[in-house]
């Protein structure tokens, strides 16, 4: 029985090429090489499988050149003809998760080769692809590598061997909308009573049937007269006054900043910078207008295109920030914007 052939996809960081400054690294095929987390996977595979090639690609390169990157990588995978394709694990790295999901899905759809990936449940790539590709649920940082590989490797082997895949809670993948039956150890009446007793005692319990949350918000009516409107700028790109006076964290922000831009017509290298640790900060530090376009909106205000640029902007760092936190920040500052008579908002993201 020959070894299962695996092709592994990772980003520039896990390949030890570099951090954000190398996020534009084009897709590269390394035949016969096991790189970074691939080593942990290979160890878990033992004799059953081997990584015949590793594909490395920069996260910004992939996301900014979707068609070309996909086409190039699909060609590489086709040529290697693996039994299974593994992408990541991406943990909470947003662009990486989106890349892993996108390429794993493409490999399945266009090459008919089974694929599997892994990331943290809040990674944007998760909602986008968990129903299309088996996606192992990981912790939110690479500190969870062992746990991730512990689920990813066995699942990959099962898929490659064509064995039946159990329920999401058994195999460690994110629920993907496909129902798999299994026998519970205790019968239903007992489980229900146990759950009720916990609930009555105010103790935590786990429902067997979570209610779906439909999370869309209907669009608000358009602005009728721009020349009379007050427009506010907000950003998740972490633009702050130089020196980051309120110490907004470069990752997993615990708060947002509110800054007065009365009289500020242009953001300069001397006066503003970015606190965001999830993208190459060089360009935003040189000229923060590249993320928060104060200069253009000031001109438009002076020319009467818009009524007013609101005198405050709201900023936080989107990098690895919990969804619940971001929502709480925006819930709070949206009320301030309304109280201040703002008519519409431009939110910029990196």
């Amino acid at each position: 029985m020959s070894k299962i052939k695996v092709v592994h996809y990772i980003n520039q960081f896990f390949a030890n090429i570099g951090g954000e400054e190398k996020a534009d690294y084009p897709a590269e095929l390394r035949v016969g090489e096991v790189v970074g987390p691939g080593m942990a996977l290979a160890q878990k595979f033992g004799d059953e499988a081997e990584i015949i090639a590793t594909i490395v690609c920069g996260d910004s390169y992939f996301n900014e050149n979707l068609d070309k990157a996909k086409a190039d990588i699909l060609a590489m995978v086709k040529e290697q003809a693996p039994d299974i394709f593994i992408a990541g694990p991406a943990f909470n790295a947003g662009r990486y998760g989106v890349a892993c999901g996108t390429i794993a899905d493409a490999v399945q759809q266009e090459l008919g080769i089974p694929a599997v990936t892994g990331m943290y449940v809040e990674n944007p790539g998760a909602d986008m692809f968990k129903n299309k590709v088996y996606m192992v649920s990981t912790k939110n940082s690479a500190a969870g590598m062992r746990d991730a590989v512990g689920k990813l490797a066995p699942l990959a082997l099962k898929i490659a061997k064509g064995e039946p895949i159990g329920a999401s809670c058994q195999e460690g993948y994110m629920p993907n909308g496909i129902r798999v039956n299994f026998f519970e150890k205790e019968r239903g009446s007992k489980r229900a009573v146990k759950m009720l007793i916990k609930k009555l005692a105010g103790k935590p319990f786990e429902t067997e049937y979570p209610m779906p949350t439909f999370d869309r918000v209907a669009p608000n009516p358009a602005v009728k007269d721009l020349s009379k409107a007050t427009i506010a700028l907000c950003t998740s790109g972490g633009i702050v006054p130089k020196g980051n006076p309120d110490h907004i964290e470069s990752s997993n922000a615990s708060h947002y900043g509110e800054y007065d831009i009365t009289g500020v017509n242009d953001l300069t290298e001397e006066t503003y910078e970015t606190a965001h640790g999830g993208y190459d900060p060089v360009y935003a530090n040189e000229d923060s207008d590249r993320v928060l376009p104060v200069d253009v909106l000031r001109e438009m205000e002076a020319n009467g295109v818009i009524g007013k640029l609101h005198n405050k902007f709201y900023t936080t760092v989107g990098n690895g920030t919990a969804v619940a936190s971001a929502k709480a920040f925006a819930d709070e500052y949206a009320q301030k914007l309304i109280a201040d008579g703002v008519d519409a908002v431009i939110m910029t993201s990196t």
């Binding site: 996020a23 669009p219 009516p221 998740s236 295109v305 431009i346």
Partner: protein, 77 residues
């Protein structure tokens, strides 16, 4: 954050580079931007060209804010 602002009653446009994320998350008005480290800029251009590029993108954002939409819409033309 975009959805929280919308839920509070303010029309909001999301200017971002990886628009599939914005779509999945549920923004209603979206304007695609240049690149992750410089969504509203391009350091390869000279200052004037870059400003013109930024202005063009902000103009699209204003079009988005003044256009009625029923579903998620990407404003890129």
């Amino acid at each position: 954050m975009v959805k929280a602002i919308e839920a509070a009653g303010l029309p909001v446009v999301h200017m971002c580079t990886v628009t599939p994320i914005s779509m999945t998350v549920g923004a209603n008005r979206i304007v695609p931007t240049i690149a992750i480290p410089h969504p509203l800029g391009n350091p390869a251009l000279d200052k004037d060209e870059e400003y013109a590029l930024r202005k063009e993108l902000v103009e699209k954002a204003l079009v988005a804010l003044t256009t009625e939409v029923e579903d998620q819409t990407i404003f890129d033309k």
